[in-house]
């Protein structure tokens, strides 16, 4: 498997990268960790004329606690997140999800920004990003804009990031009581169903993000509504989790039927909520 011939550019600044994208339009593709793009290029499913490697850009590789919020650069790898002390203290959900991704090679090279932009409906990050109600900062020729997690995923392999734009940063609020429960496809590690839950016992509120089940990852709105203002007892968590696939048309493939995915959504939601509530 060899990629079709392509040109390679490694800009040093974000502006340089943006101007390469605007000059070359859809002939150019951004290279982050390369764990989705490179295999697609080798299979010649993707044949960009120009690969713009953003691996050396300044300012996309940091994890910072800032104004009570956490900012994670788009080019931070899964492994760096899994090993981050700052995140382990303030937002352990990100550490838990990063540790559950693929295998060591994928975690060492793959990046949170690259994974989010690729938007595989069975990727792990969407569940966490939704449960944390993250903000996603996107740079484009007209400057920067911020999109909420709920508006980020727009279709299969499609996001709010438009051609010519670059995802720069993911911002979340610290959350202690959280958990990620995934049933994975054994060979690939992709989620047949991954559920991230964040519990706020004081405000009596939960947020649940689900990946792998529907064509587009989603917040389990019916579960969240059922628990709004409720004391988070084991019985009420389990009952609410029964709504985890309400109104959703689940994916079906050789690995799991639609009914099985819906079942996993309910079971994993109950487990994630209980685990989060106990933390």
């Amino acid at each position: 498997m060899f990629a079709a011939p392509f040109d390679y550019a490694r800009p040093k600044t974000l502006d340089e990268a943006l101007s390469l994208l605007s000059k070359h339009g859809d002939e150019a593709r951004l290279l982050a960790g390369g764990h989705s793009l490179i295999p697609a290029m080798k299979l010649r499913l993707a044949q960009p004329r120009l690969v713009v490697d953003i691996g050396r850009l300044d300012g996309l590789r940091q994890i910072e606690a800032r104004d009570g919020r956490l900012a994670i650069g788009a080019m931070v790898t899964h492994a760096e997140i899994a090993a981050s002390r700052t995140l382990a203290d303030l937002c352990p959900l990100l550490v838990e999800v990063a540790s559950a991704i693929g295998d060591l090679q994928v975690r060492n090279k793959g990046t949170i920004g690259g994974s989010l932009v690729h938007a595989d409906p069975a990727g792990d990050w969407p569940a966490a990003i939704l449960a944390l109600d993250a903000e996603i900062e996107i740079a484009g020729p007209q400057g920067r804009r911020t999109v909420t997690a709920g508006a980020f995923f727009t279709g299969i392999l499609e996001t709010a990031v438009k051609p010519g734009e670059i995802l720069c940063e993911i911002r979340v609020t610290a959350a202690a009581a959280s958990a990620y429960v995934k049933t994975e496809q054994k060979a690939s590690g992709f989620a047949l169903c991954g559920v991230a839950a964040v519990v706020d016992a004081t405000a009596r509120r939960v947020r649940v993000g689900i990946t792998g089940v529907a064509p587009v990852p989603y917040r389990a709105a019916a579960v969240e509504r059922a628990l709004e203002g409720q004391a988070l007892a084991e019985g009420s968590l389990a009952a609410a989790a029964g709504q985890a696939a309400a109104g959703v048309t689940p994916l079906a493939d050789i690995h799991a039927s639609a009914d099985y995915r819906a079942h996993l959504a309910r079971v994993n939601t109950a487990r994630a909520l209980q685990r989060a509530a106990s933390r």
Partner: protein, 144 residues
């Protein structure tokens, strides 16, 4: 791969039918269709430029309409080929009046082959459904 979908459209069946057999409307409703060129009665060459995430490709194919029974039903046949693979399929579309509008039932059966099916099988069904949903969403906007 079999797909069935039911869609509500805010126009009577006669209007929906007329839109569905109009190449200009088809071109606007089929995701990625750049050009539809008539080659015979009810037959068109179609040029598609379709990008689903990383998989971007140009496809050339034909669209054919058969079994036309206005304003109730017809069958749409699509065949296309490009670097990522090929697609071949047909969709039976049945239109039924419902109040002032129409309920369209689309019964599609298709095959996808080549590299895209070998490595993308996990997402093929869901992607096909997404494209079908978008087709009817745009059609709904066309006939409104």
């Amino acid at each position: 791969m079999k797909l069935t979908g039911t869609y509500r459209l805010a126009a009577p069946p006669a209007r929906v039918f007329a839109a569905l057999v109009d190449p200009d409307v088809l071109q606007r409703c089929i995701e990625g269709a750049e050009r539809l060129v008539r080659t015979a009665d009810d037959q068109y060459d179609v040029h598609l430029r379709l990008g689903i995430g990383t998989v971007k490709g140009a496809y050339v194919g034909t669209v054919r309409l058969t079994d036309q029974q206005p304003p109730d039903r017809f069958t749409l046949h699509v065949e296309g080929k490009g670097a990522p693979g090929f697609v071949r399929g047909s969709a039976r579309i049945q239109l039924t009046a419902a109040g002032a509008g129409t309920v369209a039932i689309c019964d599609a059966d298709g095959q996808v082959g080549g590299v895209v099916s070998a490595v993308g099988s996990r997402l093929l069904d869901a992607t096909a459904r997404m494209l079908m949903d978008r087709f009817f969403e745009r059609l709904g906007a066309e006939v409104r």
